[in-house]
């Protein structure tokens, strides 16, 4: 059962109308695209979330017109970026496009960039799965729900020291997993 399809396989299957393959692609790229989009626009979580949904529906509607042999990663990322630029300009009424010009037309390096972006996130994603459940919980409370150490300690009925240690160990693990030296900060 544990067969994971390659991007290219999923893509071809999706182009012929396989809904499951399409959903698989969405699941595979959701985190990366969401994080990337939010970083790019400096927040705007709701906007990115909506655009991601709209974008995938858009490519679903056009599935029979898509090329079968593409670099899936680069293709999706490039198209999504175009959609974001377009919609964002519409929202913000940005008259001059200069601010986005670099991003929208960087065709030559697109493949490389797509690789870098996905590599970066997949490392962090993988690292997250390696945390112990307790570490993961504290990391979430702190970095997603914005709770203070004191609040977490109160919630878990423990001391602030224990909470700190748990969090500290979790973060150290993340850091070692993503191997900082090779980690490229693109932004």
């Amino acid at each position: 059962m544990n067969v994971s399809h390659t991007d290219a396989e999923l893509w071809r299957s999706f182009c012929t109308g396989n809904e499951q393959s399409f959903v698989d692609l969405y699941e595979r790229y959701y985190n990366t695209f969401f994080v990337w989009g939010c970083k790019w626009l400096g927040g705007e979580h709701d906007f990115v979330k909506d655009q991601l949904h709209d974008f995938f529906i858009y490519i679903w509607e056009r599935r029979d017109k898509l090329a079968l042999d593409v670099n899936v990663k680069a293709y999706l990322l490039t198209s999504f970026r175009r959609q974001l630029v377009y919609q964002w300009k519409k929202y913000k009424k940005i008259e001059s496009t200069s601010e986005f010009a670099d991003f929208a037309e960087a065709d030559a390096s697109e493949l490389l960039q797509a690789e870098l972006i996905t590599e970066q996130f997949s490392k962090l994603e993988k690292a997250l799965t390696l945390l112990s459940p307790a570490q993961r919980e504290v990391v979430e409370l702190r970095f997603l729900q914005n709770k203070s150490l004191q609040e977490i300690a109160d919630l878990k009925n423990t001391t602030i020291r224990t909470t700190y240690n748990l969090l500290h160990r979790g973060m150290t693990k993340l850091r070692s997993e993503i191997n900082e030296k090779k980690f490229l900060w693109l932004w």
Binding site: F143, L144, H168, L174, W185
Partner: protein, 340 residues
């Protein structure tokens, strides 16, 4: 405390608060720190990068299950509509923005392809509208959109209306049922805010002197932006049945759900027709009561109608209308009426 590596920053609670903008005091402190310690800047940026990535990644994982469900629901819905060829066309073009739009509205759109909507014929090109002190005013704009102005409200249409976009300025409370036109966004300016819709129905309560704005979205999707100096910043995007209240000094507006019933009740508080063409009357009733009304006899559309309703039930309104037409009506289902 001495900070000698990016780890030191990552493990500092106050620094995390700064990165995630949890509290202003920490934000101010670290901005100041960065200026005073330029040698630490690289370390700080690395730490900040990781913290922000982590935050977004956790958020993404949190949102993903809902997003996947939404996508699957869309696919399922689309599968059903595929059986009707008309629907397929409408769904393909409108699905992106109209996932939640009412059937009535989509159908109306389908019958009135991109050219001028039927309703436009009855519209007059006026640029300034004002509801009386005691009566509401209903307006048909010439793009096919429909507006209810609450007592005392004023609406000014920009002279460029219909060119690149559809701009107007509102003070007071109004309801908008926007005719769909992807190329020309519908924009209502209220003081420092602008609410933008493509094809949607929403209500605005603007108090420009107190700089307050309340937006309630019935269907479709709207965005609200606020003016900051020369640029606009996005404040909120609303989903159907959501409301937000904005005040000048308030930082984060909260989205609230509102009750469908109250909204509908507000719409039908006062409905007035004066020598109105029957075609328009029926279209307005469809909007007021969220129903679909069809007529078997096309000649009906040429009649005119006078009437005033206050909080009347759809049943009694339909009785009046049909009485004046010398016709009968019946409900085919809970939101579809046929006049015969």
């Amino acid at each position: 405390m001495e900070f000698t590596s990016s780890d030191d920053f990552i493990n500092n609670e106050s620094f995390v608060n700064y990165c995630l903008e949890i509290n202003q005091q920490d934000v101010d402190f670290w901005k100041d720190y960065a200026i005073k310690n330029p040698d630490k800047l690289t370390m700080m940026q690395k730490a900040e990068g990781l913290i922000k990535d982590l935050h977004l990644l956790l958020l993404a994982e949190h949102l993903k299950p809902g997003a996947v469900t939404a996508l699957k629901n869309h696919l399922r819905k689309n599968r059903k509509t595929r059986t009707l060829s008309l629907w397929k066309y409408v769904a393909a073009t409108a699905a992106v923005l109209f996932v939640f739009a009412s059937i009535t509205f989509l159908y109306f759109q389908a019958q009135n392809p991109p050219s001028r909507p039927e309703l436009a014929r009855f519209a007059t090109h006026e640029y300034r509208y004002e509801a009386g002190a005691t009566e509401r005013k209903a307006i048909n704009l010439w793009d096919g959109s429909f507006v209810i102005l609450e007592k005392g409200a004023k609406l000014e249409i920009d002279s460029t209306f219909g060119q690149l976009d559809r701009k107007m300025y509102l003070s007071g409370t109004a309801y908008f049922k926007v005719a769909k036109d992807k190329l020309r966004p519908f924009k209502v300016y209220t003081g420092k805010y602008v609410t933008t819709a493509v094809g949607t129905a929403f209500k605005l309560e603007a108090n420009n002197t107190l700089k307050k704005l309340k937006v309630e979205l019935e269907e479709g999707k709207v965005t609200v932006e606020k003016k900051n100096g020369n640029s606009w910043s996005l404040i909120a995007t609303l989903n159907p049945k959501e409301r937000i209240s904005l005040e000048d000094n308030q930082h984060l507006p909260t989205h609230q759900k509102f009750s469908d019933k109250d909204f509908s009740r507000w719409k039908i508080q006062e409905v007035i027709f004066q020598d109105a063409p029957m075609k328009e009357v029926l279209l307005q009733l469809e909007i007021y009561y969220n129903v679909k009304i069809t007529t078997e006899d096309g000649a009906v559309a040429r009649e005119t109608f006078n009437g005033k309703f206050r909080q009347d039930s759809l049943q009694s309104v339909m009785e009046m209308v049909c009485f004046s037409l010398n016709k009968q009506f019946k409900f085919i289902d809970s939101n579809h009426i046929i006049i015969y």
